[in-house]
Symmetry: C2
Subunit: 191 residues, 2 copies
Amino acid sequence: MRIGKWDHDAFVAVVKDFHGHVAPGVIIGGYMVEMARRTLPEGILYDAVSETVQCLPDAIQLLTPCTVGNGWLKVYHFGIYALSLYDKYTGEGTRVRLNVDALDAYPHVRAWFLKEKPKREQEPELLREEIRAAGMDLLQAAPIRIHPDFLVKKGKGVVRRCPRCGEWYPAVLGDLCRPCQGDGPYLAGKE
Amino acid sequence: MRIGKWDHDAFVAVVKDFHGHVAPGVIIGGYMVEMARRTLPEGILYDAVSETVQCLPDAIQLLTPCTVGNGWLKVYHFGIYALSLYDKYTGEGTRVRLNVDALDAYPHVRAWFLKEKPKREQEPELLREEIRAAGMDLLQAAPIRIHPDFLVKKGKGVVRRCPRCGEWYPAVLGDLCRPCQGDGPYLAGKE
């Protein structure tokens, strides 16, 4: 079965190059994107949602025009193994999820996803073979509609200078930039 | 000047393919990544931070092994035009920012970044020529160290079934999955 413009093995090679290793989540994610895309009308402009930060954003970025940096892909930290593609204007589209109820027939996928075994006891070759054999059989699709509030493209508005550190940031975020509000990942300020 | 394995024009073509259009932010971001990477010791494993969701994540994903889906790139919604690359183990690295004080010599970049003119009055060709001519002259680098709390890789822990909708999600997120807590982008529940 094709995944975008690739067959299974070619997609695996593309995943290895972009993602760094052949993660089961990105391969399954490839089938998820493909399944969602096939439900959309030809030629429409669509946006994407990933309900997890793990793996699925990379499948979406490899297989659709939607990336994090162009804003057509929104990534939520829900930890849910599901994604949606939807018409950019109407918000109508399809959500595809891993169908955990179907995993009894795929014990290696089940052990990986539900972490039934520690990683060192899982068998990656058998897991990969199950994923290849299953294709879209692991998945479940349903129509969705995005809430209108999420369809409005928000610009960043006025850019201002942080009075504390001098950095430029969207004024809407507050009187200080977010790192100066204490949200940054750096030790001792930003620099 | 080279950007990763590409020269300027080849990188522009890669950006067009991945990002969908030749966004000034991704091209400048390419020079930012390149500048940060040149400060790192050869052969180390490094992670990345983008301080904005716009454009810079795509430059990082195109030019480094760090992607959103593999977790080596963390994207913050600070709206700040800066990124960092740092040693995955020590947290030591380099932050590169757009040096707004240097933009007087680059009026088209300045008009674009500070939104001094509405988009329809900006001149994209002249903007692109300024970016090409400036290369790293628009940028400012400084050493950073990531807070140890951000170096710890957090697994998602136990996966549980949402008692309301049946979706599987990390138990640490609460008694219900995040969409059932009201955080989802969909109308009328998830499906």
